[in-house]
Amino acid sequence: MNGTNRSPGARVLDVLGSFGLCCVLLLCLFVLTVLGTLYQVDHGLYAAKARFFSSWFLWWQPTERVSLPVFPGGITCMLVLAANMLVGGLYRVRFDSRRAGVVIVHLGIAFLLIAGLVKMLSAVEGHLTLYEGEQADYFQSYHDWEVAVWEVGGAQPGREHVIDDPLLRDLEGGRSRTFVLPGLPFELVLSDFVPNSRVLPKGPRWTAVGPVVDGFALQKLSLEKEAEQNIAGLHVAVRDGGAVQRGILWGLDTGTGPDTWTFRAGDRDWAVRLGHARYPMPFSIRLDDFEKEDHPGISMAKAFRSRVTKLQAGTTYASSAPDGRAEPVLIQMNEPLRDGGLVLFQSSWGPGNAGPRDRLFSVFSVVRNPSDRWPELSLWVITAGLLLAFGRKLFVTVRAQIELRGAAERTAA
């Protein structure tokens, strides 16, 4: 068919599946990867990911109010590349035995990108930090924040109302929002979210974010290179009828959880806190023993491992009488615990300056990722495809080479 007679749809598909677009996208991803890698040196991984890899565009900000997209971001490149692969590698290609390897490779890479997309859209990551003897049935985010409100002092522990991270981050730059939570006899007004902050007695030499409360105010700090070291802060106001009570929430966790601000509304006592987002687990984990083993004679860790007991929801720990619902598990480097859609990895330990008899804590990275095992599957698909494609090519080349040499030798003879 003549190119000029092709329908607009077919032309779009031609462009979408072209080698040219593929090359441009690969080059863009290459440039993004170089820039994002160098950016980490001064700004840390979290900022680099947000700016280069988990973004639709790379933005240039010539002035404070103007932002211009100057380069496609990681998400854009990968999505268009996936489309390019599907159209070019699967739709446009003529299926025959010679191209089977190529098709398989493209399928594998597409599956890998889908795995990445599923993770980006639905995975939850965090950590579980336990001292020996402690138990928990939730894990905490490294980066995301939440505001939780609950009643205190009642006969029954009250339901916890939670306001999630995206709603809080919307409040950056002096914005505020009123939350009317079901069953609560008051309105909660949150404002002036600051991703990294500290609370200080207000002095004349610095500008506070939001109002001064009882002589204290929120000071904005620049973001840390290690994003988990940021400590968010925000202002809270409680409207109970005509009365307004004001406070400052700060997310510093001193080891016993972030401080709570308590107030009275509707003749009942309430507490509110800002902390890292917590996610429930379908089981509890109790840290029985943490062990760090060094290489003999030097302080390099040879192994660190946590002996934990996994308890099904609602089970209390009874080490003397395991009833089948309490299962001992060893979690160590390269050997995580996978259960209930969660994966718990041995991540770190502390305190770093602990003496031989000090109580240690163990840090587990926890991930809920529906596509956890998909990359492994895609690896074997891609490898099979590459072997098929390149193996065939190698075979043809070698055969041609041998024939060429034979011909040359016959000519020489």
Partner: protein, 648 residues
């Protein structure tokens, strides 16, 4: 007629052996000579150092390499001393060893900083020469100790290294210090009664009385008097002896199944354990006695040899029971075999023969000579890597030093296979150059790795303690690197050959070069993609995420992206042979950035791979490659339509 090949081989080996003269065991300005039997026995003695049990032969070589940049020591009066004789002197004639110039100081500014007069740039100094400035050196080193390596100036880094080396040497020479000491009862009859052998008493005999001395100490308690004073003086002397040798060599393996685990003991540890009272000296006391006799009378070489034999047998038995001796003799053989140095010589010889082959194209023997030397060198590299695998019980690539060996081996092997297929004499020539360059770099980097980690077979961090992923991910990534670098090297031939008009009329040759380049890029892509995804799977099991945009991960991704770009640009017709050559050269740059460059950033989770001090080499390489790419531009201007360019 005299067969030509044996003659050639004989010439090769004559030249080869002439390049590696054996250093002497007789120091001209040191102590008495050490017999071969003593040196051989001492070389195979196991010792625990930096978390690994290794032969004294390795330990001595590594220490000398750290201090003075070579595994042998050049003496001030001329001549060289081998590593085992040197460590024997350090242990048994420490005063002599302190007079030997075993510390290489790279910059005279270091000596100026500690108020010492410098002999010149890169000069060698003895401990005795540096000792007057010892305190100043340690004081200044303490000031820089907490500073990040990247923030240190070169003089400060060298000052820190010199301080570390000096302290390490002090600890080494004090290993047997306590054993040379004698302990007296100080005029106390009660103490003398316990020291049944009489006064002064050597340390090993004292240990036999450790329980009685402890009881006497309890008995005398707070009682004032000459007995108490004499006992306290004696215990003080023992404390001093223990303190002096605490950082010495861990020569004594605990008995198998000992409660205190994997750590071997120094002489001081053994004394502490004996006085602690919770340790049965039964098997260790004879060892200590032998070592003591060796330390107290090293001049009586016959007696020394007999005691060494007894000590060797005892230590080897204990180590063997713990399963820690089996691979010691193999490591000594590896040290003596020196496969990588010998391979370097053979690769260079191969290159010389290649060059001769260019001058005398009709002489087939030269071609066979290149095949022979390169093949033998490749076998040596493979044998060396295999021996290192067996010794460590690890896959071939664990450290950065390993990557150089493995990648060089892979490049050479693939080149030889290519040569077998194409018979253009090109891949074979490249094999000699790449092999020699790789072995030379390995030798240079070995110094750096030993200076920073103390070993090229160092213990691994917890996350790397998995042979499955090390074997699959790291080796495949390294093979991807090898492919990328080899493709870049072949592409150089296309660019420079075209520019210089080499085989100008032979378009088939250039088509073949382009096909080779493309094929090797495909080879590299296969292993890079497999290795990168496998790395993600490993990261998923270790760090909880498949992909974290960590610099090392990004480096691997860059190789994959670049090679995919080459292949798709070639398939799409956007690049032809010249474009392919230029992109393959740039691919080599990408590989070098991924292999070394990202390690210089010192950020991310792959902290065990961080390195420093290679930036200049890397920038020089990138500068050269930029010139090659520019030359390709010049070539394109000179020959705008390269005839016979092929598409994929």
């Amino acid at each position: 007629m005299i067969p030509r090949r044996p003659l050639l081989l004989a010439a090769l080996f004559a030249a080869f052996s002439g390049l590696a003269p054996a250093p002497g065991a007789v120091p001209e300005d040191g102590g008495a000579p050490w017999d071969d039997a003593i040196r051989d026995s001492f070389a195979t003695l196991p010792v625990q150092d930096r978390g690994r049990v290794k032969p004294v032969d390795s330990l001595a070589g590594l220490k000398l390499l750290t201090y003075n940049g070579k595994r042998t020591l050049k003496l001030a009066a001329g001549g060289r001393i081998d590593r085992v004789s040197w460590i024997l002197e350090c242990l048994f004639y420490p005063e002599e060893a302190r007079r030997w110039p075993c510390f290489r100081v790279q910059s005279d500014a270091v000596l100026t900083a500690i108020d010492l007069e410098a002999k010149g740039k890169r000069a060698w100094y003895s401990y005795a020469e540096l000792a007057p400035a010892r305190d100043r050196l340690f004081e200044q080193a303490a000031r820089h100790a907490g500073v990040e390596a990247a923030d240190l100036r070169p003089t400060e880094s060298q000052l820190l290294k010199l301080a570390g080396d000096l302290r390490d040497f002090e600890e080494l020479t004090l290993t047997c210090a306590g054993l040379r000491q004698s302990f007296s009862a100080g005029g106390s009859a009660r103490v003398a009664e316990v020291l049944a052998e009489g006064s002064p008493t050597p340390l090993a005999s004292l240990l036999e009385r450790a329980a009685e001395l402890r009881m006497l100490n309890e008995e005398l308690g707070g009682e004032e008097g000459p007995d108490h004073a004499a006992l306290q003086a004696l215990l003080g002397e023992i404390d001093h002896a223990i303190g002096a040798g605490q950082g010495g060599l861990a020569l004594l393996p605990p008995a198998a199944g000992a409660a205190d685990g994997e750590r071997w003991w120094t002489v001081s540890d053994l004394v502490l354990a004996a006085f602690d009272g919770h340790f049965d000296l039964g098997r260790h006391l004879p060892l200590l006695r032998s070592l003591e006799r060796m330390a107290r009378a090293p001049g009586d070489r016959a007696a020394f040899q007999a005691e060494l034999a007894a000590f060797h047998t005892g230590v080897v038995d204990l180590a063997a029971e713990r399963g820690e001796y089996g691979r010691i003799p193999l490591e000594v053989r590896l040290n003596r075999f020196r496969p990588f140095t010998n391979a370097l010589v053979l690769f260079l010889l191969g290159f010389v023969l290649t060059a001769l082959g260019w001058l005398l194209p009709g002489v087939r023997a030269l071609r066979w000579g290149v095949w022979g030397t390169t093949g033998l060198a490749t076998l040596l590299v493979a044998a060396g890597i295999t021996m290192r695998c067996i010794i460590r019980q690890r896959p071939p690539v664990v450290s950065l030093y390993d990557t150089i060996l493995f990648i060089t081996g892979c490049m050479v092997l693939v080149s030889l296979i290519l040569e077998r297929l194409t018979r253009q004499n090109l891949a074979l020539s490249l094999a000699t150059i790449l092999g020699a360059a790789g072995m030379f770099l390995a030798g240079r980097y070995e110094l750096k790795e030993v200076a920073s980690a103390g070993d090229t077979m160092a213990s691994v961090v917890a996350v790397l303690d998995t042979n499955y992923y090390l074997a699959i991910h790291v080796t495949t990534i390294a093979m991807g690197y090898a492919g990328g670098l080899l493709a870049g090297a072949i592409a150089h031939v296309w660019i420079l050959g075209k520019l210089l008009g080499w085989r100008r009329a032979d378009e088939a040759f250039y088509r073949s070069v382009a096909r080779m380049t493309y094929g090797v890029v495909c080879f590299s892509l296969l292993f890079s993609i497999f290795g990168t995804i496998m790395g993600g799977i490993w990261a998923n099991d270790s760090w909880g995420r498949f992909w974290g945009w960590d610099p090392k991960e990004n480096g691997a991704l860059l190789i994959c992206l670049w090679e995919l770009l080459i292949i798709h640009a070639r398939l799409g017709g956007y690049i032809r042979d010249r474009g392919l050559a230029v992109s393959a050269v740039l691919g080599g740059v990408v590989v070098s950035a991924s292999w070394w460059g990202v390690n210089l950033l010192s950020v991310g989770l792959h902290s065990y791979g961080f390195t420093s001090g290679v930036a200049l080499t890397l920038f020089v390489l990138w500068g050269i490659e930029a010139v090659v790419v520019a030359l390709a531009g010049v070539e394109a201007l000179l020959h705008p339509r390269a005839a016979g360019e092929t598409a994929a």
